[in-house]
């Protein structure tokens, strides 16, 4: 919520119309004087009188402008309701005002409009309400509010700005990932593992419950059976807490495709969804982005980490050409042994991909490569000859096969395939 007070001050600016009227007035008077014609002089005088009299009416006023937004953090594709309340705090009429709330061009106006013409009496209030959609992730700013006083005859203007801004962060969308598709069954190796208070495979007792068909006989609590006469089973607390590393490629090549559909956008959605999934399971998730430089977010769990990951993903831009091996080499000492590693990359233009993945697999990490098909994304914006497409596709297929050969699970992610469907390839593979 932003609140600011605007006071108009200084002299008004002349519009083009006023300038034309002034020069016409002077010219008519001079010509009239030259040829002794009173009509020309009087028309000229009337033009100048109009300017002089209109100069008396100034848009001086004291405005209180308050902006409220329905949210400051939203997911890509969500709507934000923006309300502007304008109050004339002075005891003078504002005259004709044009209010314009600056909205980033990436946001789409869904309902209403971000501008209004108004003429407020003393103490009067006007409310402007509009809804914008945020189709692109990133950090945006709504504001400042431009207030322009315009003379009724469009002769003078006076513009001022309320410098209050509302920052909006648009996170990547979160897609549902079925639990069955992703399994993180590598327990944390170092001390300090969080005790999870959710039922699942583990050692610590969680609760007793009634026996259900399919339950193991080993889990039957015989004492409870003897006491109550009913079949009861022991449920355990899940103690499989994992460090999951999500590496997102944000190099320049990841901008291939359209603004809304490119490897970077698909990658951020995938990284956000995967992180969300693991954080919900109380696993620790680390986010690594690499492009012009490497940004590393150490593994943590909880809502705070979730927010950090989404914020990090919201701000990534496609630039740079850092090789994957440089990232994995730098990360290697910080990765707990056997942690699953998600690499989200189009795998284009980087000769170090194979050795980097080989090294990770060699160290016992479960490597899952999610690769948005940049060739198919490029086809969305440019026409690729069929033969060239086939050759490029074959090259890509060979690269993926080679990576799979090192023990990594490889997903070839086509632009029109949903993330959950793409991840299904792990299971099928």
């Amino acid at each position: 919520m932003g609140k600011d007070r605007v006071r108009f001050g200084g002299l008004d600016m002349w519009t083009r119309k006023a300038a034309i009227m002034f020069t016409s007035g002077i010219s008519l008077i001079l010509i009239g004087m030259m040829i002794s014609n009173f009509q020309l002089m009087i028309v000229g005088l009337a033009f100048l009188s109009l300017l002089a009299i209109n100069g008396w009416v100034a848009g001086h006023s004291d405005l209180l402008i308050e902006r409220q937004t329905s949210a400051t953090n939203v997911y890509k594709g969500d709507d934000i309701v923006v309300s502007l309340t304008v109050t004339n705090k002075s005891y003078r009429r504002t005259q004709q005002l044009e209010l314009f709330d600056n909205v980033p061009h990436e946001m789409k106006m869904r309902k209403g409009i971000n501008q209004m013409r108004m003429n407020l009496g003393p103490g009067q209030t006007a409310k402007l309400r509009y809804v914008v959609r945020c189709p692109l992730r990133g950090h945006y700013t709504i504001g400042p509010v431009s207030v322009r006083y315009r003379n009724a005859f469009n002769l003078f203007v006076n513009e001022t700005k309320m410098d209050d801004r509302s920052d909006i962060t648009v996170f990547p969308q979160i897609r549902d990932i079925e639990e069955a598709l992703l399994r993180s069954d590598v327990p944390k190796m170092y001390s300090g593992a969080t005790t999870l208070k959710t039922p699942g495979p583990g050692m610590e007792f969680y609760a007793l419950r009634e026996y259900l068909p399919g339950d193991s006989f080993r889990s039957i609590n015989w004492k409870a059976l003897a006491r109550t006469g009913e079949m009861m089973v022991n449920e355990k607390t899940r103690d499989a807490v994992t460090d999951v590393f999500v590496i997102v490629d944000t190099r320049d090549v990841s901008r291939i495709g359209t603004v809304l559909k490119n490897p970077l956008e698909m990658g951020t959605v995938a990284a956000a969804s995967v992180s969300n999934y693991f954080l919900k399971r109380r696993d620790s998730v680390s986010l690594v982005t690499y492009g012009s430089r490497m940004d590393y977010l150490p593994p943590e769990t909880g809502d705070k980490q979730y927010f950090k990951i989404l914020s990090g993903l919201a701000s990534v831009e496609a630039k740079g050409s850092m090789p994957l091996q440089a990232v994995t080499n730098a990360l290697s000492p910080r990765m707990s042994r056997g942690s699953p590693v998600f690499i989200i990359s189009s795998l284009e233009g980087d000769g170090t991909t194979l050795p980097a993945i080989r090294n990770l697999s060699g160290k016992g990490h479960e490597v899952i490569v999610l690769s948005p098909s940049s060739i198919d994304l490029e086809r969305l914006v440019s026409r690729i000859p069929r033969m060239s497409y086939e050759v490029l596709k074959l090259e890509r297929q060979n690269r993926l096969t080679a990576i799979a050969g090192y023990g990594a699970k490889v997903i070839d992610w086509m632009p029109d395939v949903e993330l959950s469907q793409a991840l299904l390839q792990i299971k099928l593979g």
Partner: protein, 390 residues
Amino acid sequence: MSENEVPVSKSLNIRQLRRRWQIILLQLISTASLILLMQRMTRLYGTCSDSFIESYGESLYWCPAYEHTRGLRWFEQETGSLVLPDFLTGLNQTGEMTVVAPIILCFGITALWIYVLTRGDSTRKWINIGVTVVFFAWMLLPFLISWITALNHPLNHIDHLWGPLLFVFELVFLGVVFAPVLAGIMGIWGLSKKFLTWTVGYYLTVIGVHAILTFEGITESVDLGLNPLPGQIGEATMWGGLVSPLALELIEVAILLVLYLEAGSAVISHMEYASLLPKDTKRDPEFVRQFENVINGHLVHLIGVMSLVALTTAIALEFDDFLISTVGALSGGQWSGQVKESLELQLTYGKVISAGLFLVVVAGMRFILPWQRVTGIFETALLRFRSTET
């Protein structure tokens, strides 16, 4: 975008706005100004000079004055008959009634034009083609048919082309006076800024051309018989000795010109704003209320400012009198006596310079008189009074 929506009749849809009283009032003010302007222009610039009239004696004469019947009558005498009927050109009327029929015709043409504008593209195209074909058929077919059917006869078929040509000339005579009226009405009711400014430009051109053609230096070489405006503004006998009859007429022309332009432009500006609004905001009570505020404010301004402009111009023209009498009253010396008797100060230069001085004072009063503050205090008090009443 509020949950509540105003009824469609009060919405900011263009169709509904066209029926709103403020918009209609602005259009009526503009139209009335235009017609009054034409009438004043005809009265001021529609006569030939006395010497020119005398030189023609009893016979019909024509000078390029701003009046249509004289030209048409002269044309009728020269050619034998007119294509346009007298009731349409106003030739069967006298005095100011001569302009009634052409003005009605202008309204009719504007209505037709707006009707055509509101049709679809293809309909508009076919109407345009139809009008063009009918006009050219009327122009050429009689000539072609008579020429083809009577190839062996030595008849002068070119006579058949004469009628359409006369018609075009009649339109020119009529158009000199009524083209700006037609363009002005089209601009006001058809919402065309181009037509509005064209009309103002046309009238300024007429005034300028008349001024040049009646300038002594020109009339010595070429005298077209136009009646020049008096070289003196005359004795101020009206509005309590503030304005002379001639000055009043000249001020009226200037004010009507500005009033016509401003009222017409206001309609277009407000309609433009409303048309830019998205559909859902057109029924938003907040947008509707503010639109009403803005347009009501505009109406108040238009009336208030225009009245003040008229008054200021009138005072400015008589400011020389005030200066001279002040100087005369302040001291009884020789210099003040000379100033008082000075004729130059009351002629063109003195008048304009003193008027300019007065306007500078008026413009500077913005920094001295806090009248906006005063009106604000009144408005605040009025609002408080209303709220306590309710």
